[in-house]
Amino acid sequence: MREKKDRSTLIIALLMIALLVSVILVGGWYYRVWSKQRVMNEEEAPKAYTYHCAFISSKYEDPFCNSIYEGAKTAGEEAGIYVENYGRQLSLNYSINELLQMAIAANVDAIILEGNQEYSTVELINQAMDQGERKIVVVTVAEDSVGSKRCSFIGENKFRMGYDLCSQALAYADEEDEEILVLLDHMKENTDNNIVISGMQKLLDENKVNSTGAKKEGTLGHSLNYKLNSQTIDSSEAYNAEEQIRMLIRNLNTRPDIIICTSLTQTKSVYQSIVDLNCVGKVKVIGFYYDEAILEAIEKGIIQSTYVVDANEIGVQAVNSIGEYKEYGYVSDYVSVDAKIVDQKNVRGILQKLQTEEETG
């Protein structure tokens, strides 16, 4: 009996020692795991990619550009192409050309570029494409750099865009409206702007309305004369665009009845100006692309509708083009993406989706 008791005491003592050692080891292990997760900030090993692609844009904060980047990045993850928002990590702001120079010097594998018509940009694109074995594949998105050796351009059909924008303007026009003003971006190629105007003109012709003030007898609009004017807005410098637009609206002589925007910056500036200048209802606005404020404005009726290009798709197509070029050595020169109109009928769903995305991060 006693021996049994002694043995159980010994077993208890041994168990206690084992438990103590376990507690110490578990404590140490817990600390290490905790410090690894929290302190050392050691995440899972980052994914390795085959190609390094620089995404270069003049406006990183622009939702349109951001959507393109996000689309490209997501598509790149599947295709083994790391898409870097080039220059975003730098403390200073650099121009597109400077970023291009950096990317070329850094010897990236590809560049997705929001093109422009500057000669120096074209030169740099050509320099990248002419590096022989170290050739850097350049794909322009949203805006093209005509005349450059870029391998592909991904963007909306400008003619179609003009046509659709104008059809929206006519859809919301009433009998009192006379002047339609198209705001054009000076950064964009003249050709592009011209194509947009052509599209609008085509619609007006179809409806027998023209810029000289012909009587409308077509399927759209009312039996009134419309004047189609255009204004180039310089958005190269900060606040420039907004100031110009504010001046346009404030001046009763230049204030149009309908404003058609061709960039998101313009749309936001117009919206802000007509609210500030108490012109809601007096000026009808056909916007370009959207952010949350613009969608809310559509919901409230301040902006009538907005033309939305599938920016995400542009990014995806850009990465696909790079992949194809890397694989086959050639790719389509131009890839168009779809667009849609957002107005009061469908704005609620998009707004909710956007808000949900913001909440979920």
Partner: protein, 503 residues
């Protein structure tokens, strides 16, 4: 299996032979080792964390060195382009060497991590920068002003980009490292808490462990003190205390057990000797009682024998004078019989003398009853030298004559036989008389009736007296038995050979 058991047994033996001092030292060492292990383990973790804290800003330091080397390249290149001095050229190459070495340590792979991609960009731009600075220096050597000026401009641009990149990366890493530093500080604080909790747990465990193990040592002591108290109160019939170890307590317990056994044995011996003494005294008293009882009976009868004895002597002389031979013989036998009876009751006598007394008695009885008693002796062994208590046979024969064959219609016969049986001599007195009724026989066997002789018919010594004297002399039971089946009675007396009564 057997080896295991042997090892286990050996281990158990080894542990049980450890002294208390060794056990206590082992316990102290064990608990100290546990505490040491816990402290050391946590200290290792603390050291590791401190090392991590020390390394937090290493990457920033590396980038600063890279930046300095880059500045050195740019300055030396500019100086060389301006002055073509060999010092600046040497400085340029030295800086390039250092810069290249440092740059090689940066990431060159395409990894989905911002800082890693920035490092890759720095490496890529650095390669281009070094190529262009090389071209500028070469052009300067060749005095190609246009070329080196273009290269210098390009190099300057790249230099600026690199600086911007390094600066940004430095900032980014500083931000990350600061966050890491803050987290490390928090973790160190947590580690401090864990260590404190761990120490408390270890201390509690150690106290519990010491409690458990010391209980092993103190429990036998407690049992021992309890047993000692019981002994002090006079309780010696305690079970043996178990001895589990051969330490000091084990030795004391074992000695205590032996002491208890000794005390018990001693007490038993004293008790036995006292009992024996009491028994001896009791027996002595009993014997004296019986003797006195017999003596008294004989003294009562002594008046007649003495008177008769003297008278018989005178009668014998008278018979001799008158030439009456048979009368003389008869009176002479009677005189001898009474003399023997009177003198030998308290003495030990030879069996032969007892037999002679019986013959005398029969002779007297035959004269008295006109020769009716047929007496026969059957002695089948050597009876010389056998000593017996006096007056043990005559009462038996007298009993046979008085109660057996007296008043019977047929010829009375008494047979006295002596034979040797193993360790005893068996003396049997048999008669063919009327026997003893079963009820009376049972009472005689139980000793209730002693068959005391009728006055005038016997010498007064009964069967009971004979039996008791035999048992007292030889300190044995079953030395006397009596049988009677219908006719005839047999009385047996057994004289032990080995315990012969010595006078």
């Amino acid at each position: 299996m057997r080896i295991d058991k042997a090892l286990q047994g050996g281990m158990k033996k080894f542990v049980s032979h450890l002294s208390i001092q060794t056990k206590l030292i082992s316990m102290f060492l064990l608990t100290s080792l546990l505490a040491f292990f816990a402290t050391n383990y946590m200290l290792t973790n603390i050291n590791r964390s401190l090392l991590a804290i020390e390394k937090v800003y290493t990457s920033n330091e590396e980038l600063n060195v890279i930046s300095e080397a880059l500045n050195g390249i740019q300055q030396n290149m500019k100086e060389y382009l301006d002055s073509r001095s060999s010092d600046s050229l040497n400085g340029y190459y030295r800086c390039i060497q250092e810069y290249s070495n440092r740059i090689q340590e940066l990431n060159g792979e395409i990894i989905g991590k911002d800082s890693a991609i920035m490092e890759k960009n720095i490496r890529g731009i650095s390669d281009s920068y070094l190529t262009i600075t090389g071209e500028a220096v070469e052009a300067r050597r060749a005095r190609d002003i246009n070329r080196y000026s273009v290269s210098y401009d390009k190099a300057s641009d790249l230099y600026n980009y690199l600086n911007a990149y390094i600066f940004s990366l430095n900032n980014q890493q500083f931000k990350d490292n600061s966050a890491n530093y803050a987290n490390l500080a928090v973790s160190l604080e947590l580690l401090g808490r864990i260590t404190t909790v761990m120490n408390i747990i270890v201390a509690l465990f150690n106290v519990l462990l010491i409690f458990l193990l010391t209980r092993q040592i103190t429990r036998p002591l407690k049992e021992l003190s309890k047993a000692a108290n019981a002994v002090a109160e006079g309780n010696f019939n305690l079970p043996d205390l178990p001895v589990h170890s051969m330490d000091e307590v084990g030795v004391v317990t074992k000695t205590f057990n032996e002491m208890l056994v000794s005390i018990r044995a001693y007490i038993l011996r004293i008790k036995e000797s006292m009992e024996a003494e009491n028994e001896a005294k009791e027996r002595e008293l009993l014997m004296k009682n019986h003797l006195k009882d017999a003596q008294l009976k004989y003294y009562q009868a002594q008046i007649h024998p003495h008177f008769l004895f003297n008278t018989l002597n005178a009668g014998a002389q008278l018979a001799m004078l008158e030439n009456a031979e048979r009368t003389y013989s008869f009176i002479q036998k009677m005189s001898e019989f009474f003399r023997y009876s009177m003198n030998n009751l308290e003495k030990d006598v030879y069996l032969r003398e007892e037999l002679e007394l019986v013959e005398s008695y029969i002779y007297i009885m035959n004269v008295r009853f006109s020769g009716e008693i047929c007496f026969e002796q059957q002695i089948t062994c050597d009876i010389e030298g056998i000593l017996v208590p006096g007056m043990i046979l005559q009462p038996l024969v007298e009993n046979a004559v008085q109660y057996g064959i007296r008043d019977i219609d047929w010829e009375g016969k008494v047979i006295l036989s002596v034979k040797e049986e193993d360790s005893k001599y068996c003396i049997c007195v048999e008669d063919n008389g009327k026997g003893i009724p079963p009820q009376r026989l049972a009472e005689i066997q139980k000793g209730v009736i002693t068959t005391s002789a009728d006055k005038g018919l016997s010498n007064g010594v009964g069967l009971g007296n004979v039996r008791e004297r035999l048992e007292l002399y030889y300190k044995e039971d079953s030395l006397f038995s009596i049988e009677s089946e219908g006719q005839g009675t047999r009385v047996y007396i057994y004289i032990p050979k080995g315990s012969l009564f010595t006078p």
